[in-house]
């Protein structure tokens, strides 16, 4: 009987600790307004300059997007997490046209990407980084990695791994950048 009481008491304590921890984490996230999967920068720096071809053969320069909020997403067709993230990016793309989304493919040929997009159609612009030059410039070492660039061309956030781009938390961060761009 004593043992049962002890087990019940221990589990109550553990559950209480767990609840307090969850509450504290949520409170911190709400207070900071930045989801913890976003890494913000101490001194935001200008995004490295680059020019890449898109799938239609057009040259795209990152500087052409000054004045706009840009989401750069580094991905590859072989990367399962990138495939998982793709529909979430598509949702964001369909929800708002205020943010420019550019998906930079790492080290794959145009043919491979086109074949992939036949099965997984997307309206988002895909840029070809066949030698991973741009990936190197941004210090990308894992896929997917995304960067949120403000209207001044400065990198404000980095996110590694799958992000739910349609979530309210992410929405708040993007809204904040969009508001800054209007000022």
């Amino acid at each position: 009987m004593k043992k049962i009481k002890q087990i019940i008491l221990t589990s109550i304590i553990l559950w209480t600790m767990l609840l307090i921890n969850t509450w504290a984490n949520n409170a911190w996230a709400q207070k900071s307004n930045v989801p913890n999967f976003f890494q913000s920068y101490t001194n935001p720096k200008l995004a490295p300059d680059f020019t890449l071809h898109d799938l239609e053969g057009n040259l795209v320069n990152i500087r052409d997007y000054r004045g706009k909020v840009v989401l750069l997403n580094f991905w590859a067709t072989w990367c399962p997490h990138c495939r998982q993230e793709a529909p979430l990016l598509e949702k964001l793309y369909n929800r708002t046209k205020d943010i420019t989304i550019l998906r930079i493919n790492a080290k794959e040929s145009k043919e491979t990407i086109l074949k992939f997009l036949e099965k997984n159609p997307s309206k988002i612009t895909v840029l070809l980084d066949e030698k991973n030059k741009v990936g190197n410039l941004f210090g990308v070492w894992v896929h997917p990695t995304s960067f949120l660039i403000d209207s001044e061309g400065k990198i404000r956030y980095r996110a590694m791994g799958v992000i739910d781009w349609d979530s309210p938390q992410v929405g708040t961060v993007i809204e904040k950048l969009l508001e800054e761009a209007k000022k």
Binding site: T42, N43, G135, N136, L137, F138, G139, V142, H143, I155
Partner: protein, 186 residues
């Protein structure tokens, strides 16, 4: 010379020759596994890590710290070349702080460090730390602090040994030679 002594002598000579051939082959094999200077050098390493700058507070992973270390080293090299030694010293020190963080987790140098599918980088935290200590020693020597310079070079040697043990490179061997000569001359 009788027939018996003749055969014994022949066997000894043949065995000596074959032993020497085997040694040569081994040496050649060792030499061929050393990465040449044109494949592993400072310029290439710096080129690979050029771009978005990493600050200490923003580094979240070993690979970020390595990038930060290389970028600070690049700044140090620029100052060192133009004889702005006080600035160079600061960057060499901060570069080594980044590398020491890397070495806490990954202490092996690699000429083909696998970053992700189909993409490799030159990963030499030991050798770069050693090169930083070598140049910090040179700065100290220029100020007349010979004893402190020797201390930096001895530290450099320990990192070079670790580097050569994990990935033999021509660059590492050249640095080792240079530091050994500096220590002897002082």
């Amino acid at each position: 010379m009788n027939a018996r002594s003749y055969w014994i002598l022949t066997i000894i000579i043949v065995s000596l020759f074959s032993a020497s051939c085997a040694t040569n082959l081994e040496q050649r094999k060792e030499l061929s596994s050393i990465f040449p200077l044109k494949k592993v050098n400072l310029e290439l390493i710096i080129e690979q890590q050029r771009g978005l700058e990493i600050e200490w507070e923003d580094a979240k992973d070993v690979r970020d710290f390595y990038r930060g270390g290389v970028q600070h080293k690049a700044k140090a090299e620029e100052k060192f070349r133009t004889n702005v030694y006080s600035e160079a010293w600061k960057f060499y020190q901060s570069s080594n702080e980044f590398f020491s963080m890397v070495l806490n987790y990954l202490d092996q140098d690699a000429a083909e460090y696998f970053l992700f599918e189909g993409h490799q980088i030159l990963f030499f935290p030991n050798l770069l730390t050693a090169d930083n200590y070598l140049k910090m020693g040179k700065i100290l020597k220029s100020k007349g602090c010979h004893w402190s310079a020797r201390r930096q070079w001895r530290q450099a040697l320990s990192y070079i040994k670790q580097s050569l043990k994990s990935e033999p490179t021509e660059w590492g061997l050249l640095l080792e030679q240079e530091i050994t000569a500096l220590l002897k001359s002082e």
